[in-house]
Amino acid sequence: MREGKKGSTGASSLKKKEKLKKTKTNQNHNEEDNNTIITKKKNTKKTAKKVQFEKQEEEPLQKKKQQQQQLPTTDSQSESGSESDYEDFSEDDVSEDYELLRQSEDGESESSGEEVHGNHSDSGNDDYHGLEDHSNSSESHQGVEESDSSEDEVVPRNTVGDVPLEWYKDEKHIGYDISGQKITIKERQDKLASFLASVDDSKNWRKIYDEYNDEEIELTKEETKLICRLLKGKAPHAEFDPYPDYVDWFKHDDALHPLSNAPEPKRRFIPSTWESKKVVQYVRGIRKGLIKLDEPKEEEQRFYLLWGDDSSAAEQANRLSYIPAPKPKLPGHEESYNPSLEYIPTQEEINSYQLMYDEDRPKFIPKRFTSFRSIPAYENAVKDSFERCMDLYLCPRVRKKRINIDPESLKPKLPSQKDLKPYPATCYLEYKGHKGAVMTISTDASGQWIASGSTDGTVRIWEIESGRCLRIWEIGEAVQYVAWNPVHELPLLAVSAGQDVLILNSGFGNQEDQRKVKELLHVQTPTALDDSDNMASIVSWHQDDKHDGIRLKHFKTVTSVEWHRRGDYLSTVMPADILLFLSKKLSHRIPFKLHGLPVSSVFHPTRSVFFISTKKNIRVYDLVKQKLIKKLETGLREVSSVAIHPAGDNLIVGSREGKLCWFDMDLSSKPYRVLKCHPKDITNVAFHRSYPLFASSSDDCTAYVFHGMVYSDLNQNPLIVPLEILRGHKTSNGRGVLDCKFHPRQPWLFTAGADSVIRLYCH
C-alpha cells in the first residue's frame, strides 16, 4: 500500500511538474500575445513540439512506473491507481488528456481486470488466487502493450445465449455459468438503500446494471473516454493516429546501385552439362540415321481402288436423295468457230440487241473465224466456269418433271360434236326491218312468233318460219326489254321502254282468249290509287289507249321484265329496285334488302323461288316464306345476265368481263365451272327449255352454243361441252350481239345484233 501510494504520489508530483511547465508556456503565450497572428501560430507549433518532447521524456518514466507497479503484490494498488486516475480526470485539463491517457493506460486496464476478478471471487476466493490472476493479466499486458482487446473478450458469465430474460422471470436463477451451475439472482437492495448508496458513492454515475449477468458494472475511465470519442465522431481508440508521420525506411546515402552490385557468378559462363549430353545424343541419332532432318514429306497422295467392289457399296437409306446438277447445255451450231453464214447476225441485228431488255438479249453472239489459227482465247472462260461453280453450290435444286409431250394432248377429251347434235350451227334466216340496234327479242310460247324491241322505238312481231314482220308498235322510246307471257292462252307482251312498262295485247289466239285478254287489260285508274301510298309513288297503273294495253309508270328506267311461269306475275327490274306485279293489278315491292344494285331477276321454273342478281352475288329468295334461302358468290366483277336451267337446280351467269359461270346449287354456292370464252362483255345467257343446250351472246359479235347436260343422278356432275361459235353479226358502236333466245321447242337460236338484224341459227 505504501509503495502504491508512493507511486501514485510520484505520479502526481510528475504531473505537477508538468503543470508548472504548462503554466510557464502559458505565460510565454501571454507575453507574446501582442505579436502578430503568424508568430502566434509559430508559437503554437513550438508548444506542440515542447509537448512532444515532454512526452518523450515521460516514456522512460512510465516504464519505471510499470516496473514499480509490477513489484507490489497487494490488491489495493489498483484502487489507489484508479483513484489517482479519477483525480486526473476531474482536474479537467483538456489539453493534457492525451498525456494523461498514456500514463494511466496500464493502471486502468489492470484495475478493470482486477474488478472483474474481484466480482468473480466475491463468493470468497483467497488472496493467492487473486494474486495469480493479477500476475497473469499483467503479463499479458506486457506482451501486447497497446492492445485493449481484453475488455472486448470478457466472456459473459451467463451461458443461456441471446434469449429474452423474461423466460427466467419466475425463476430464481437467470441462467447457467460455464460449469453448468445456476446463476441465482442476488438479493436486491431496497430502493432507499440503493439510493443512499448511490448518493454516497461518487462513482455512481459510471455504474450500469447488467441484467443479463445480474451484476453491476462500473465503467472505467477509459471506457467512458471511448464513449466520449465515439460521440464526437473520432476513432474509438485514442492511440490510433489517422495521420502518421512518413517513415523513410530506405537509406539514400552511400548506395551506387539500387540492388546488389555483386559480380556474375561463374556458373553462368559454363555450358550446361545436361544440354551437352542432350546434344551428343541428338548428334548420335542423326549420324545413325535415327533422326532425319527436313525430310521432304511424301508428296504424292496415295491413290487406291476406291470403288473396289461396286456391289459392296452400302446404300445409305438415311440420306436425302441426291439431285444431280443439271448438265450445262451442249453447244449448238452457232457456237462453232466457223458456223454457217446464216447463223451470224447482221450488224443491224447486233445493234438491235442493244434495244432489248437484258433478259432477252442473246448471251452469245456467233462469230466466224476462217481458219483455226485465228481463234482467239475465250475471254470469259474463267468467268463462265466460276458462274457454273456458283450455280453448283448456291442454286437451289428441285427435281422437276419435264414433260415432253405434244401440247395438243393437254386438251381435255370431249365427246364428239356429232353425238351431241342437234344444236344450232348455221344461220338459216335473217329478220331485217329494224332501223336501230335490236336490244331484245322474245319467243312466243307456241314457237310461232318472235317479238323484238329496238332502239328505234319499235316493237315488232315476226313470223319465225317466214321471217315476215307481222306487227309493229311505235313506242316512241328505245325499247329495253320485251317478254312474251309464257302462258299460251294469254298472248300478252310486256315491253319496257324508258321508265314505263307496257303490257300489250299481241292479238293472237282465238276469240275467247282475246276476250280474256281484253278483260285483263282493262284498268281503272282509281284502283291504282287505292293501293298503299308507298307503292303509288313508285309505280302507277294506267290504261294506255294508244296501244290498247296497260302502262305501268315507274320512277326510273326499267331494265328488264320477267314473267312468272304461270303468267300471272311479272317482275320488273329498275337499277334501284325490284317490283313484283300481280296480275290482279297490284304491285308489290320486294321486301328484302339488297346489297348492291339489282341487275336482273329470274323466277324459278317450278317452285316459288326468286333469283335476284346484284353485281357480285346472286340471292335466292323464297317468295312464300319471304326469306333469303341462299347466296351464290360468283366471284365475277360485274354480272350482266342470269338464266336458270329448266330443272331449276342449275344456273348460268354471264358477266361483263366475258366469263360464264355455271352454278350447281346442290353442289356449292361457288361456281361449278367458270368458262372464259368471250373477250368482251356477255350480254345475255339462255337455256333451252327442252334440249340440253345453253348459249351466251357477247359484244364481240359471237354467240357460243354449249351442250349442258344435267343428269338426274345427283352423283354425276353436269357435262359442259362447247359446241359452236356462231358468227355473222357485225359490230356497230362497239356492240355486237345484244340478245339471244332459244326457240321453245326446236334447237334453234335467235340472236339480236346491234347491226339491227335478228338471226336464226338452225341445226
Binding site: 491413290f303 466457223n338 359442259i720 361459235i725
Partner: protein, 666 residues
C-alpha cells in the same frame, strides 16, 4: 430490417433478367441445342424441315467461307421448300443436309486447319520466317478420299458427274500460275497431269465420240461405261485471269475436290485395263518435258514463248503417256489373250466332259463370253476410222488436241519437234495437217488438210473428201455434233451434204417418202424408215397447212395423198400384197372427192378458217387454268423455235441472193 429488405430488390432484378434474357439472346443459341428445340411454338412442316443459310451458319458455328468450303466438299446444295417460310430472298437448306455436315469429321479438320493457319500468320507477323517455314511445311493435310466415296458410292455415279470436274481441271491446266490469285504452280501441273492421264485413257481405249471446236474451246464427248461425258477444254492460248467478279477461292475449293475425284477415277479406269497408276513415263521424254516446263514457267514474262513452250511440253508429256500406254496396254492385251486361250482350253475340256447331246447350248455359252469381251460397236467403228493413216502435224497446228484426237480414232501421229516418232520426210505419211495460208514444200504422196478436216471426219464418222479443206481455203462450216437437226427444224446445207456422203459411204440411197420398197427384207429397217418418212410427210403436211389460205383444194389433195401413203404404209407393215390397182383406185377416189369438195369449200373459205380456229379454241375453253398456262407456255416455246428457224431461213435466202448477184457481176 434493413438487411432483410435489401436483398429483395436484388433478387427481383435477377428474376426479371432471367425472364428477358432468352428473348434478347434468342439468336445466339448454345451449340448443343438443335434448331428445332427453339422455345415457343413447336415447328412443323417446312419450317421444321428447312433452315435458312444464316441459321445454318449459326447452327454449325462456322463463318461463310468455311461453310462454303464444307458445302463444296460435301456436295450439299440448297433445296427448294414447297413453302418458303422466311420469304423469297432466303436460301434454304434441308436440316438433314446441315446435320450431315455437322457430324462429319471434316468440319473439325477444317477448323483445326484454320487454327493452324493462324499460327503461321502469327509467325509471319513476328517476322519469324524460320518458324513460319517449318509450320508451313508441317501443315496438316486434308484427305478427301472418304468424301469422294461418300458422295459417289458407285463408280458410275462418279462418271455421271464427271463433266464439271473435267471442265474445271482442263481450265486450270491452261491457266497461268499466279500468286495473287493463289493459283500455285504445283496445282496447275497436277491439273495438267490429271487431264493428260484422262485423255490418254480415252484415247487409248477409243472412247471418244464427238469433238466440237467452238469459240469457247473444244468440246469433247466420250462414252465411258455407258455414260456420256462431255467436257470443254479451252484453246491452248494464254488465258486471262479476270480480277473482278470472280472469287478464286470458290474455284480452288471446287478444284481441290475435283482433283481428288479425278485421280481416283483415273486410278479405277487404269486399273480396269490392267495398267498401273500413276503411270511411270519414259524417263527421257519425261525429262525433256520436265525440263521444258520449269523453263516455261521461268520465262513467264514473254507470253508467246511461254505458251509455245507450254504446248510443246504438254504434247511431249501426252506422247510419253501414250507411249507408256502402248507398251502396257499391249502387255495387258497379251495377258488377256493368254487368259482367253486358257478359258478356251478349259471350255474344250468341259466340252469333253459334258454329254454330247447338248453342243448347241454350250456353243451359245461360248459366244456370250466372246461377246462380253468385245467392245461395243461404236468403239469398233471409232477405232477403225483413221486406220492405216499416218498424220503429221505442222508447227502451227494445235498439237495437244490433235495428239489426243487422232490416236483415239486409230490414227498414227507425229509432229515437228523434239521427241517426234517420225520425221516430216517420212514417205508413209498420208495426211499432213497444216494451218497456214500457203504451203511451201509439198510432198505429192500426202494430202495437206486443215485441222478442221479431222474434227469433221470424226463427227461424220467417215473420211470426208479433202478438197474443201485444202491449204489456204476457207473451210466449210464446222457444225455441232450435239444438235439434232430434225428436232431443231432447220438443217444446214453442209449437214445435208455430209448426210449424203454418209449414205454414199454405206452404199445406200435415202428412201424417199411415198416410194415403197418391196425388196427390203429386214422388218426393223423398214420400220425405222417408215417412221422417218412419216415424220417427213407430217412435216410436209404441216408446211402445206400454212399455205391453206392459198389453195384449199391443194390441201385436200395433199391430205388425200398423205392418207393414201399412210394406208400404203400400213399395208406394207402388215405384209399384205401390194397391188398397183388399189393405188389407182385410191387415187381416183381421192381425185373425185377433192373435185367435189373444191366447189363447195371455195365459197365458204373464210368460214373454214374460222372453224379451224374455233375447233382449237373450243377445247382450251374447258381446260383448267394451270393446264391452260402450261399449254400457252408450250405454244410460246414452239413459236419461238419456229421464229428462230424462220430467221435462219431468211438470212440464208438473203445471203444466197447476194451470192447470186455477185456471181452474175463476175
Amino acid at each position: 430490417m434493413g438487411l432483410i429488405l435489401n436483398p429483395s430488390p436484388l433478387s427481383h432484378n435477377s428474376l426479371i433478367a432471367s425472364i428477358f434474357t432468352p428473348c434478347v439472346t434468342e439468336d445466339s443459341l448454345p451449340p448443343c441445342r438443335s434448331i428445332t428445340d427453339l422455345p415457343g411454338k413447336k415447328k412443323e412442316g417446312n419450317a421444321a424441315r428447312y433452315i435458312t443459310r444464316s441459321q445454318a451458319l449459326k447452327h454449325l458455328q462456322v463463318n461463310t467461307k468455311l461453310f462454303r468450303r464444307l458445302c463444296i466438299y460435301k456436295g450439299v446444295f440448297p433445296r427448294e421448300p414447297k413453302k418458303k417460310f422466311r420469304g423469297n430472298h432466303h436460301t434454304y437448306y434441308h436440316l438433314k443436309d446441315i446435320s450431315f455436315i455437322r457430324h462429319d469429321p471434316i468440319l473439325e479438320d477444317l477448323r483445326a486447319k484454320s487454327a493452324y493457319a493462324k499460327k503461321v500468320t502469327k509467325a509471319k507477323a513476328k517476322k519469324n520466317k524460320e518458324l513460319a517455314d517449318i509450320l508451313i511445311k508441317r501443315q496438316p493435310q486434308i484427305k478427301l478420299d472418304r468424301l469422294v466415296l461418300e458422295r459417289y458410292p458407285h463408280f458410275v455415279d462418279a462418271l455421271r458427274d464427271l463433266d464439271d470436274p473435267l471442265a474445271l481441271v482442263h481450265l486450270f491446266a491452261s491457266l497461268p500460275a499466279s500468286d495473287r490469285m493463289k493459283i500455285e504452280v504445283k496445282r496447275v501441273h497436277n491439273c495438267r497431269k490429271l487431264s493428260h492421264e484422262w485423255q490418254a485413257y480415252i484415247s487409248r481405249t477409243h472412247k471418244l465420240r464427238k469433238v466440237f471446236v467452238s469459240v469457247k474451246g473444244i468440246y469433247y464427248q466420250a462414252e465411258v461405261e455407258g455414260q456420256k461425258i462431255t467436257w470443254l477444254a479451252p484453246h491452248g492460248l494464254q488465258q486471262v485471269l479476270p480480277d473482278d467478279d470472280v472469287v478464286y477461292d470458290v474455284l480452288l475449293n471446287f478444284l481441290e475436290f475435283y482433283e481428288t475425284l479425278l485421280a481416283f477415277v483415273n486410278f479405277k479406269l487404269y486399273h480396269s485395263i490392267n495398267v498401273k497408276y500413276p503411270p511411270i513415263l519414259d524417263p527421257r521424254l519425261e525429262a525433256s518435258a520436265a525440263g521444258l516446263l520449269p523453263l516455261s514457267y521461268f520465262l513467264g514474262d514473254c507470253l508467246g514463248v511461254w505458251v509455245h513452250l507450254e504446248q510443246v511440253a504438254a504434247s511431249v508429256e501426252l506422247y510419253a503417256l501414250s507411249r507408256y500406254f502402248d507398251t502396257n496396254y499391249r502387255t495387258a492385251e497379251q495377258i488377256d489373250g493368254t487368259e482367253r486361250d486358257e478359258s478356251e482350253l478349259r471350255l474344250a475340256q468341259l466340252q469333253h466332259q459334258l454329254p454330247s447331246n447338248e453342243p448347241g447350248a454350250l456353243m451359245q455359252l461360248v459366244k456370250g463370253a466372246a461377246d462380253e469381251n468385245e467392245e461395243d460397236e461404236d468403239t469398233k467403228e471409232c477405232k477403225k476410222l483413221f486406220k492405216n493413216m499416218k498424220f503429221f502435224l505442222s508447227r502451227e497446228v494445235p498439237r495437244e488436241s490433235l495428239l489426243f484426237v487422232i490416236p483415239a480414232f486409230g490414227g498414227v501421229v507425229s509432229w515437228e519437234g523434239e521427241g517426234a516418232p517420225f520425221e516430216e520426210a517420212d514417205q508413209s505419211i498420208t495426211h499432213q495437217i497444216v494451218d497456214r495460208p500457203t504451203q511451201g514444200h509439198i510432198y505429192l504422196s500426202r494430202e495437206y488438210v486443215q485441222p478442221q478436216w479431222v474434227y469433221d471426219c470424226i463427227n461424220a464418222r467417215i473420211i470426208l473428201p479433202t478438197e474443201a479443206y485444202m491449204v489456204g481455203r476457207v473451210p466449210p462450216p464446222h457444225l455441232s455434233p450435239f444438235v439434232d437437226n430434225e428436232e431443231e427444224g432447220y438443217v444446214p446445207d453442209y449437214a445435208e451434204t455430209i448426210k449424203r456422203l454418209q449414205a454414199a459411204a454405206k452404199n445406200e440411197i435415202l428412201p424417199m417418202p411415198g416410194l415403197g420398197k418391196e425388196d427390203l427384207e429386214d422388218p426393223q429397217n423398214l420400220l425405222a424408215e417408215g417412221y422417218l418418212s412419216r415424220a417427213e410427210a407430217i412435216e410436209a403436211a404441216e408446211r402445206k397447212r400454212t399455205l391453206l389460205t392459198k389453195s384449199n383444194s391443194k390441201l385436200m389433195q395433199m391430205m388425200a395423198l398423205e392418207k393414201q401413203y399412210h394406208d400404203e404404209l400400213k399395208m406394207e407393215l402388215q405384209g399384205n400384197q401390194y397391188s398397183s390397182s388399189a393405188v389407182d383406185k385410191n387415187k381416183q377416189i381421192s381425185g373425185e372427192d377433192s373435185n367435189n369438195e373444191e366447189a363447195r369449200e371455195e365459197e365458204s373459205l373464210p368460214d373454214m378458217q374460222d372453224t379451224a380456229k374455233d375447233a382449237a379454241n373450243m377445247s382450251t375453253l374447258l381446260m383448267s387454268r394451270k393446264t391452260r398456262g402450261l399449254y400457252e407456255a408450250m405454244k410460246i416455246g414452239k413459236e419461238k423455235k419456229k421464229a428462230d428457224v424462220s430467221l435462219l431461213k431468211e438470212r440464208k435466202k438473203r445471203i444466197q441472193k447476194i451470192q447470186t448477184q455477185n456471181t452474175k457481176k463476175n
